[in-house]
């Protein structure tokens, strides 16, 4: 029944007006409570930090605007490297992870070797410490003195892709397996092939479900791409470290930290928005 309500003489009863008013008061009250508790907590924190005996020293060595301003160009240059690496590594790791996840869910016997390969890949590289993989790739591989060895940056990126691909593979696999078998059955019964079923029915649902944990891993990746500086390239943290070594002031680190948070915000906001929108569209069960 989708008859639009004719605006014929419905007047809320006194009871309903009362109820609406009560709910409105409750809303106002909860907003006020939230504001008050936030204010109290904020003031407490402010007093606790700025009232601490060592606050002046900490402020001058961690929050010095002059130092921050002078360090900004170098840190930003380093950050640009982070951003580039992040885009490259995130794309690569998502692709590797998705492929490994799909391989792990292949059932036919003939795919056993691929399945075994994908499984051992996720086992080994989720267990292996990132720094060691990074050293192996950036120092070990060039040590082979093969012709055409790519630059350290690419090798380091590859190490990150492989390690994060293994994490993401397991997240994707969890997502794929969380799609109810009846969905597969429905798709296959329509005559869709395995591949089409994955592409059009299973993966879209899986991707939506795993978007938040995937984002978690990507934000972690964003911070870990900086580890590549162990092999030489200068990222934002390394740039801050150099600045700190010159001035004996830790403000550049704080600056780099703030920039990292700013970098993550749009990523988080976009993912939240996308998942929220999808959820809202699908759960509009009462929409006409």
């Amino acid at each position: 029944m989708t008859v639009a309500a004719p605006a014929t003489g419905y007047e809320p009863s006194a009871l309903q007006r009362d109820r609406v008013a009560y709910r409105r008061r409750q809303t106002v009250r909860s907003v006020l409570v939230a504001a008050a508790s936030t204010l109290v907590l904020g003031v407490l924190l402010l007093v606790a930090v700025t009232g601490a005996p060592g606050w002046e020293r900490v402020r001058s060595s961690f929050f010095d605007p002059g130092v921050a301003w002078r360090a900004l160009p170098d840190v930003l240059r380093g950050l640009w490297l982070n951003v580039q690496l992040l885009v490259f590594c995130a794309t690569g790791a998502l692709a590797v992870g998705l492929v490994a996840a799909i391989l792990r869910t292949l059932r036919p016997a003939i795919f056993f070797p691929l399945r075994a390969l994908a499984t051992s890949y996720t086992y080994v590289f989720r267990g292996a410490p990132l720094i060691i993989v990074l050293y192996l790739f950036t120092f070990g591989v060039p040590g082979l003195r093969l012709t055409g060895t790519p630059p350290v940056l690419v090798l380091g990126g590859a190490a990150l892709v492989i390690v994060y691909g293994a994490y993401l593979a397991e997240v994707f696999r969890a997502g794929i397996e969380s799609v109810h078998p009846s969905q597969r059955a429905a798709a296959r019964s329509l005559g869709l092939t395995y591949r089409q079923t994955m592409r059009h029915v299973v993966l879209p649902q899986a991707a939506r479900r795993v978007a938040p944990p995937i984002l978690n891993d990507l934000v972690a990746l964003q911070k870990d791409v900086g580890l590549i500086s162990l092999a030489g390239p200068i990222d934002a943290i390394r740039a801050a470290q150099i600045q700190t070594a010159q001035t004996y002031n830790y403000t550049p680190y704080v600056l780099a930290g703030v920039l990292f948070v700013l970098l993550a915000l749009p990523l988080i906001a976009v993912t939240d928005w996308v998942t929220l929108r999808a959820a809202r569209r699908q759960s509009a069960e009462h929409a006409a």
Binding site: M1, T2, A4, A5, Y10, S13, R19, Q26, H286, A288
Partner: protein, 253 residues
């Protein structure tokens, strides 16, 4: 006559969809007295399920009031959990918890909500499961049972808390005809025990058997109510006749 167990007074429920609003319950009033079984019939979208969901406070109503044993439960100051503890609801699609065994499905609320000991909850659950012929399935997981068995477990899960009122929402709609019988037999049995029930159904034959009173809903209003013989046998309203005619044509009466 004593005070009704459930009293629905001038309830209005509106769904806002896109541009317009859709009045699903329109100034609807209904009483269910102790030990009475009231069956709601009507076309899809006539508001049967919504009414049940409103009674269980799964939906907030837009006007009017609902009383359970004389207490106003749609007052925003009323906490919904204690109200729901006194109402059992069974859904069309069973909604058993797939990660719990049959026994754990049934004993979850007794243990966690009603604070029975594991032993007490277990013995009550097993007694009820035995009554519905499912004692041997207690250790199984829901997905391993047939639809009829799952729905019987769902009914037991609601009954085990000794609710004052049972709400049944199209409990046989997801079952094939072979399995409908066992569920309906169980509900008749529950009626024999004196349970007060509000039932939404498409099964007219069942409505005839189990109902003390049948209400025909149309566009969110009760268009006609009375004994099953009256409403289903000799309806006064043309809309009711039309609806029943379609059911007869579909071979469901």
């Amino acid at each position: 006559m004593s005070e009704p167990v459930l009293s629905v007074r001038a309830v209005r429920k509106v769904f806002r969809a896109g541009r317009g609003t859709n009045v699903v319950l329109d100034d609807l009033s209904l009483d269910v007295t102790e030990h009475e079984v009231v069956v709601l019939v009507g076309a899809s979208g006539s508001g049967k399920s919504t009414l049940l969901r409103c009674v269980n406070l799964l939906e907030t109503i837009d006007d009017g009031a609902i009383y359970l044993e004389g207490r106003h439960i749609t007052d925003p100051r009323v906490k919904p959990d204690p109200v729901r503890q006194r109402i059992g609801i069974v859904f069309q699609s069973f909604n058993l918890f797939p990660h719990l065994t049959v026994l754990d499905n049934v004993t979850l609320a007794p243990r966690r909500v009603h604070r029975l000991t594991s032993g007490q909850a277990r013995s009550r659950a097993l007694a009820l499961l035995d009554r519905v012929g499912l004692a041997d399935k207690a250790a199984e997981y829901p997905d391993r049972l047939s639809g009829g068995q799952q729905q019987r477990v769902a009914i037991v899960r609601a009954l085990v808390n000794a609710p004052r009122l049972m709400l049944l929402d199209e409990v046989t709609s997801a079952l094939d005809p072979e399995l409908v019988g066992e569920v309906l037999a169980l509900i008749r049995d529950v009626k024999e025990q004196g349970m007060t029930m509000l039932i939404a159904t498409h099964e007219m034959a069942f409505a005839r058997q189990v109902a003390d009173r049948v209400c025909f809903l149309d566009r969110g209003r009760i268009l006609e109510e009375g004994t099953p013989e009256q409403v289903l046998g000799a309806p006064r309203e043309p809309r009711t006749r039309q609806f029943l005619q379609r059911i007869v044509e579909a071979g469901k009466l």
